[in-house]
């Protein structure tokens, strides 16, 4: 993960917690939500590597990664505003026509990511694995419906 994305995500975290001066331009919203997803994926990759035995299990690292995911998980929804269906994005227009379902899937992802953090803190690798599976399924549910396939 490069420094730029970390800076963008830090900015995004500040925006979400502090008072928002104004809505970012559509192209900035797209960048911000991608940065949050990228960092979430960065945290997830570390947990996944432990779950698949690619690196040794470490409770501390699992907690750090899961907390990064938790912090990032609430950010993307702030940046699916008007006009952000066009540009450097694979977001499908259905997001804006099926907003309630999209939001429900977003809520589901946020709650599953929260459970990953709880499982990480428990120090139980098996619990971490099943929580990560559920979170992965929640990610996929949204990708399947609302993200353009890669070419």
């Amino acid at each position: 993960m490069n420094k730029r994305n970390i800076a963008i995500a830090a900015l995004a975290a500040a925006i979400s917690t502090g008072a928002m001066a104004q809505t970012p331009k559509p192209e900035d919203q797209i960048r911000l939500r991608k940065a949050a997803y990228d960092l979430m994926s960065y945290g997830f990759a570390s947990i996944d590597a432990m779950n698949e035995g690619k690196k040794p299990y470490s409770r501390d690292e699992a907690v750090r990664s899961a907390e990064l995911m938790v912090q990032m998980s609430t950010l993307p929804r702030l940046f699916f505003g008007e006009g952000t269906d066009k540009g450097e994005t694979r977001a499908k227009p259905e997001i804006w026509t099926h907003r309630a379902d999209f939001d429900a899937k977003m809520d589901k992802m946020i709650s599953e990511v929260g459970k990953v953090a709880a499982a990480a803190r428990s120090g139980d690798p098996a619990a971490l694995r099943s929580a990560a599976d559920a979170a992965g399924d929640a990610c996929k549910a949204c990708h399947d419906d609302y993200r353009q396939k890669r070419r």
């Binding site: 994926s41 997830f44 990759a45 996944d48 698949e52 990560a132 599976d133 559920a134 979170a135 992965g136 399924d137 990610c139 996929k140 990708h143 993200r147 396939k149 890669r150 070419r151």
Partner: protein, 213 residues
Amino acid sequence: MPQPTGRGWDLPTRLFHWALALLVVFSFATGEVGGSWLPWHMRSGYAILTLLLFRLAWGFAGSREARFTSFVRGPRAALDHARALARGNRTLAPGHNPLGGWMVVVLLALAAFQAGTGLFSNDESSHEGPLAAKVSGAVVDRMSALHSWNAWLIAAAVGVHVAAVSVYQWRWRMDVIGPMVSGPSQAAQNALALVLVAACAAAVYWLVVVYPR
């Protein structure tokens, strides 16, 4: 019953066929479901890669009907076979017929392409192939897309294969399924096949576990 003449598909070829069939169905299903099934999808892919490497070797080292030189024939032979079928000549020689031989080549090539692209693919959330970290994100995206599309090409090719076999078997009464179930089996040959499978498994283990470390 093993045939004393030793003609027809040998035991390793028959086992290869049914193992590949099962694994392809399993891989297709787990790939579509995705998520927590992907670790199993990947293991299935490694097993398929092992089988494909073995089949490649067996195409040179196997018994007559398993060898590429015996069944990879030119378009003329395929056409002649089709004409003979059209004329109502329903006699069957042991091994793949000239049309079936091409089906084998196509199925093996598609499966190899699928296993190869899968190594570099990811699911954009929680899982990635063992070599995805070795290449750029753009390559991973392209490989993942090709992997998704090729799954449906394989499904189509399997459909053609099963339909063709069904027509031979039940419409034309040419027994093509029987010889894929029972046939020659020789201890020395089976032992050689086992050694080859072990070597292929070791090569795949190196590729997906040792090398990416």
